[in-house]
């Protein structure tokens, strides 16, 4: 979703000439020379001219329509007492299941397990915001201050690496470090203490999740900040130095202001995505820790739908989450626009 979108910083956007400004010349025989793709041509003529391009986009468009748009219709099961056993075919089952109105939604709002999931989702979101968000900024400042190119490249390669590991692997690695038989427990026992198992402890679960996210993705998060730092004109630093600013002053008055728009934008977008906290990561550890601490909205939907086959109920919970999330994302983009940033889409 939107948090994976890394928008171009404003300074970067300025340096490139938008392609729209250059006249687009079509060499196709059907259009008069120099008329451009967007020239005032009849629909038929334009279709004939662009049919290859349209055909090229077709496979992707079909896949997106099929797997992103068609399932939206499937949300009707949220208003049904959906019975998966009517037929092997989901559509046939949907057509033959009775409608129950808002009953599923009423059940959700009276369900303490749902509110527990909401609470856990928000706890994890705020913890990640406070403990995870600042780390890439600090790491980027650190890396940016390294002037030797080889050291820079090597440490960047190491910091990026865990981003490409699967969650299964990351959790397995953490298990080897902090699990009951892990290296940490081993060391404790060798020194006469009891072992500790962080992997199954509900009280430290939010911290564990945050630590895993930091290990996996903090290094990757520095890319966008490094790009913002690279676009700062060096003469700003020189001018500041001439005015007598030492390196700390230069960081405060030149470097940080350069990062400010990117930080603000990413923060806004993250807040818009608040209800989504690491589905795969948490689902993998749900059984070890128990739903009390490890149930978030996404796993709540998975548990009730896939495991308990209570499809109508799970779809209703998913729909509530989806609608609230959509509102949050749109609001976040609105805020981004108000700040003069591009957001995920252009105004």
């Amino acid at each position: 979703m939107s948090h994976s979108t890394v928008p171009r910083s404003r300074t970067e956007a300025k340096t490139k000439t938008p392609r729209e400004e250059t006249p687009v010349v079509s060499g196709d025989a059907t259009g008069p020379p120099g008329s451009g793709r967007s020239g005032k041509l009849g629909l038929k003529v334009r279709f004939r001219r662009d049919r290859v391009l349209l055909l090229m986009t077709l496979p992707a468009v079909v896949l997106v329509l099929l797997f992103n748009y068609v399932p939206i219709l499937g949300n009707v099961v949220a208003f049904q007492d959906y019975d998966p056993y009517i037929s092997d075919n989901g559509v046939v089952s949907i057509l033959n299941s009775p409608f129950v109105g808002m009953e599923n939604f009423q059940r959700i709002f009276e369900d303490s397990a749902f509110w527990n999931a909401v609470q856990n989702t928000l706890i994890l979101f705020f913890l990640q915001l406070v403990l995870f968000f600042p780390i890439p900024v600090l790491l980027a400042l650190l890396i940016n201050s390294v002037v030797r190119p080889r050291i820079r490249a090597v440490s960047q390669a190491i910091l990026y690496l865990p981003h490409f590991f699967s969650w299964v692997l990351v959790i397995a690695v953490f298990q080897q470090l902090f699990g009951g038989a892990g290296i940490f427990s081993q060391l404790l026992r060798q020194h006469g203490y009891d072992g500790l198992d962080f992997m199954t402890d509900p009280s430290t679960f939010p911290l564990l999740i945050t630590a895993q996210s930091v290990w996996k993705d903090a290094g990757w998060g520095i890319i966008v900040f490094l790009a913002a730092l690279a676009s700062v004109p060096p003469d700003l630093y020189e001018a500041a130095a001439m005015d007598g600013a030492n390196r700390w002053r230069r960081m405060w008055h030149v470097t940080l202001p350069a990062l400010r728009p990117v930080i603000a934008l990413l923060l806004v977008l993250r807040v818009g995505d608040a209800l989504t906290v690491g589905f795969e990561q948490i689902l993998l550890q749900r059984d070890m820790v128990g739903p009390g601490a490890a149930e978030v909205l996404d796993t709540f939907v998975w548990w009730n739908g896939v495991r308990n086959q209570d499809f109508g109920y799970a779809a209703a919970a998913g729909l509530v989450k989806g609608v609230v999330s959509l509102g949050l994302v749109l609001a976040a983009n609105k805020v981004a626009h108000l700040m003069g940033e591009q957001g995920v889409y252009k105004k």
């Binding site: 979108t5 090229m56 986009t57 499937g74 650190l142 299964v168 080897q176 779809a315």
Partner: protein
């Protein structure tokens, strides 16, 4: 002459600091030491766990027993865990499945994405704006897990490898990154090819793609890592244990502490340690990614930043 220049660049030059501008003050010893320490700690925090995993996977049962679990210092290096795992059986099959799904899926995703990105990169073409909006909108909502699950079931993809590829085959974000790059290619070049009689497909294949090798490498890696790391679709749509990819086998192995099918006996009787087997599977899962990603690393920044959305 050129050799001399190369030597100065290749030698200690790359490790040495570039000359400092006159206005910049010399760094303090304490500052440099603190910076180095922080960077070293950050890198060690990532490398140390991986080191333990690799070393333990290469250790004999005796070494593992002596260490009382995970091994930090390599001793008696043996490849027995890998030999056992790759001599047929559950893990071998899972690895083959993972490799095939990754290869086929990545090829398919790249073909679809590159075509679509090129089709959308010629701004002003018919329907360009509408198609783009349709794709963009999906970055704001998801249809939800349950309806998607019911759709895959309805399409009859359950218990088929297509269920691991089709539902997540296209990433709109990746298409936008490719498109951003394609749009940066000089229009004059494309026009001259068109005048020479090249169609859109030929232009894409012979001009645009060779010029976009860097971003294509990045996106290929993104897709490949996605397929290689995926486990959720398999757990959702596959019922047959024999069809499970490597990640799902790793879940059973490491999380539920089960021995891989067929190896249980070897672990009970032989000198093979269950822990070494677990670590070996983890190494098999991380190796391709760890080997490939550094080669593409220098293009990451470009790839990530051309992804900015342009109407």
């Amino acid at each position: 002459m050129t050799a001399v220049i190369d030597k100065t660049v290749r030698g200690p030059g790359r490790w040495a600091a570039p000359p400092r501008p006159g206005w910049e003050e010399e760094p303090s010893r304490a500052g440099l030491a603190g910076k180095g320490l922080a960077l070293t700690l950050a890198c060690l925090g990532i490398l140390f766990p991986l080191w333990i995993v690799v070393v333990t996977s290469l250790s004999s049962r005796k070494t593992i027993d002596e260490a009382g679990g995970l091994v930090m210092v390599p001793k008696d290096i043996t490849f027995i865990a890998y030999k056992e795992l790759l001599s047929g059986g559950q893990v071998t099959r899972a690895a083959v499945i993972s490799v095939l799904v990754t290869l086929v899926g990545t090829l398919f995703s790249m073909a679809v994405s590159v075509l679509c990105a090129y089709g959308l990169s010629r701004t002003g073409s018919l329907g360009h704006r509408w198609i783009l909006l349709t794709l963009l909108a999906t970055m704001f909502f998801s249809a939800g897990l349950i309806p998607t699950y019911l759709l895959v079931q309805t399409l009859g993809l359950t218990d088929s490898y297509l269920a691991l590829i089709l539902p997540s085959a296209v990433s709109v974000f990746n298409i936008l990154v490719l498109r951003g790059f394609f749009m940066g290619i000089s229009q004059e070049l494309i026009d001259s090819a068109r005048i020479d009689g090249a169609g859109d497909l030929r232009i894409l294949w012979q001009i645009v793609m060779p010029l976009s090798r860097a971003v294509i490498a990045v996106i290929t890696l993104f897709y490949a890592v996605g397929y290689w790391s995926a486990w959720f679709n398999a757990s959702l749509y596959l019922n047959d244990q024999d069809m499970m990819p490597l990640q799902n086998v790793m879940i059973q192995l490491v999380q539920k502490q089960e021995a891989p099918v067929g190896l249980g006996q070897a672990i009970k009787t032989g000198q093979l340690s269950g822990l070494a087997v677990q670590m070996a599977v983890m190494v098999m899962a991380l190796l391709p990614v760890a080997v490939l990603s550094p080669f593409v690393q220098k293009h990451f920044k470009k790839g990530m930043l051309t992804g900015a959305v342009k109407g």
